[in-house]
Assembly symmetry: none
Homo-oligomer: 220 residues x 4
DNA sequence: AATGAATGAGTGTTCATTCAT
DNA sequence: CATGAATGAACACTCATTCAT
């Protein structure tokens, strides 16, 4: 139940955050996602990317400064696209709790739609501490801030416990989703990643510990 | 409150899961942790590790099959040591909830004691999908199974909600801790990582949503 | 004394041996001189030359066969222009000694007017033995022959010692001027190169060794 | 005639300024001379040098920082060796004029012994203005200073004209020899380069212009 | 066991040249 | 004539690994 009309299926599929047509820049970027996901960034050759994109090696350098810039551009594009989608999706929702639910669903939905994208995001983004720092202080923190704002709004609205630290709650939320995605990538079973959204949310929202079904009322 | 005598400070400091003396095998492994944490696995040269360890390049190959084997050995040693510590620490505890609490604390305590170790564990372990698959299906899953057992025990004991999926709960728990560690590595502030254990646990155990202050309302 | 009206200042400035206007062929050639002088032939890119000339890369190939042809054309143009100037300048002079003096002056004057030109001539012309052979047996030897003829004429006229080998004298003469130019390029002081003409000539004409101020006879 | 006992033939042949045995550093350097002379610096591949030296590509980098360092080392070694030989050869000579003569002979003798060496020295040394500046302000100027001192000593001794500028005389002297060498490289005839020493010296010392045989003629 | 000199396969990047527009 | 995007051959340099000592 719930979440009935929400358009999981964005007409602009996540995988196609890059205009799928013509545009050689995007063709190369898509090829890089495929290749990096297959072999990992360090084990991928620029010429692999070029071949996958159907261009000459040198052409890659007409559109990207160097190999690193390829990875950088992929992740920037992903996060930009994702953040925009999330903003658009939660804007109409009034309840912060509903918004948080929507973020979780979109997060998993997006990564679950394109395994290659997910691999790059979950694995290759960590290819160096420098690289991670770069993103965690820029693009990624933009996303995390968004989540944190929702959580704080939820506290004001009385939907979330006032005593929890919103910063930590954000990390717990993000970490939980991130781990689901990482596991999904590694697991052989191809159950849709988005299926995990509901149970994860239930856990995060209501905790491991049972609510004292209180009083006698339940038994009554 | 609580957890008074629990020996946070294992007499065998985490960093020295490798016997700190003589043993050239361990000297090289420690050197590798330092070097990999500093530059990342791919940007580290075997000769860097050798120099750090004070041995000749060729000597590394007397103890390790190749460069990959170095990283593999580090993580295996880390996880073996960690799992052993966790088992020992939770054995005397009877309440699964107390056990889970102890795991969280130890997890963060261990990584927080040695940033290099944490960097390798959080970042370098992901240096390839193959590598991750290798671990997630072996060592790491041994750790995750341990957590899962505690959660299931907690469900039987009535300490955790019976309806939650223990497998998913395990991932949420691990993912939350993992994210705390990753963030701690990247953050400049050097607040002890273990300080995060309590608030994270509170969030996971009791959820984001306030418990209905029960009483009248429910019965109303 | 002497050489009063000789037009050091050719109305066609040396630098503009290439018609300075319109003509795209010459525009590119001038750009090439600038660029080659700045970075050296091998470190210059065809696209640098194109940009300097304000044309597209491909346009360079409409006027020159390839990059080598650019350098070749520069030096050919320089030497053609120079030889023509020299011929014109010495034609009216009757004394071979005066002619030789004029050649020295013009030689240094021309190179000293345009450092870029000098750099290309002194440095880049030597970019390969093949290249040098090409020129030394063609254009350059035309210039050297000119000098040699003047020297031989001087011998017949009794102005130069009959016993000297004109071929060797030519090389000594050219080598001395060449070295002055090379040094001038490298030196920081920007004293006009042509200033060196007089002292060099004095040395070459009268030698290092003092003329026996001859005994008393002269005074007699 | 003249120059009877002077040991043109240094027991340590010029070509072997590099100990010809074992020493891999020198083997590579000799290979580089051969290869650079054959194809020119820019057209030579490091792997060509390695093959010529009979070592692996990587080995070159154990002894030289990079390709540029190869050329740099060649010329430094040449000049060091040459300057030492010249100093030793002129030390016993008392007459500056005899010393200058000896320098000219040695200069041409050395280059004439090993065409490859000469090619590198005459052609490749100019592979860039930066490179030339480097040498002209260091090693080469040490050589030029040596010549200049001899000329100045000759002036004091009354062997050379007092009014000539020693700095310019040095350049004229060096330039003349340099040009002889350059021409010899390019010429097909293989007449010993050192044969040119005597006529060149005669020209430089006594000039192009005949000494007034004075006496009667003038008064006639 | 330990060494470290030697190896040589591997790759990111450049840039002269072409050609469809 | 002119363009400049695309090409792809070429190459300096690195570094994991070996092995004679």
């Amino acid at each position: 139940m719930a979440r009935p009309a929400t358009p999981h299926t964005t007409d602009k599929p996540v995988a196609a955050m890059l205009k799928s047509d013509s545009n050689k820049h995007d063709t190369i970027l898509r090829a890089a996602i495929t290749v990096f996901a297959r072999n990992g960034y360090f084990n991928s050759k620029v010429s692999d990317v070029a071949r996958e994109a159907g261009v000459a090696d040198g052409t890659v350098y007409l559109y990207f400064k160097n190999k690193d810039d390829l990875l950088f551009s992929i992740i920037t594009a992903m996060l930009d696209s994702f953040i925009a989608q999330v903003r658009a999706a939660i804007a109409p929702l009034t309840s912060p709790l509903a918004q948080l639910r929507e973020i979780a669903r979109l997060h998993l939905d997006m990564l679950g739609r394109n395994r290659d994208l997910a691999v790059v995001f979950e694995v290759e983004i960590r290819h160096s501490t420098k690289f991670m720092e770069e993103f965690s202080t820029k693009k990624l923190s933009e996303y995390l801030d968004l989540i944190q704002q929702v959580i704080e709004a939820g506290q004001h609205a009385g939907e979330f416990r006032p005593e929890i630290n919103p910063r930590i709650a954000t990390k717990v939320f993000f970490g939980a989703l991130d781990e689901m995605a990482t596991n999904w990538i590694l697991s052989r079973r191809r159950k849709p990643l988005a299926d995990a959204a509901e149970p994860v949310l239930d856990l995060l929202l209501y905790g491991f510990v049972p609510r004292q079904t209180v009083s006698s009322s339940s038994s009554a």
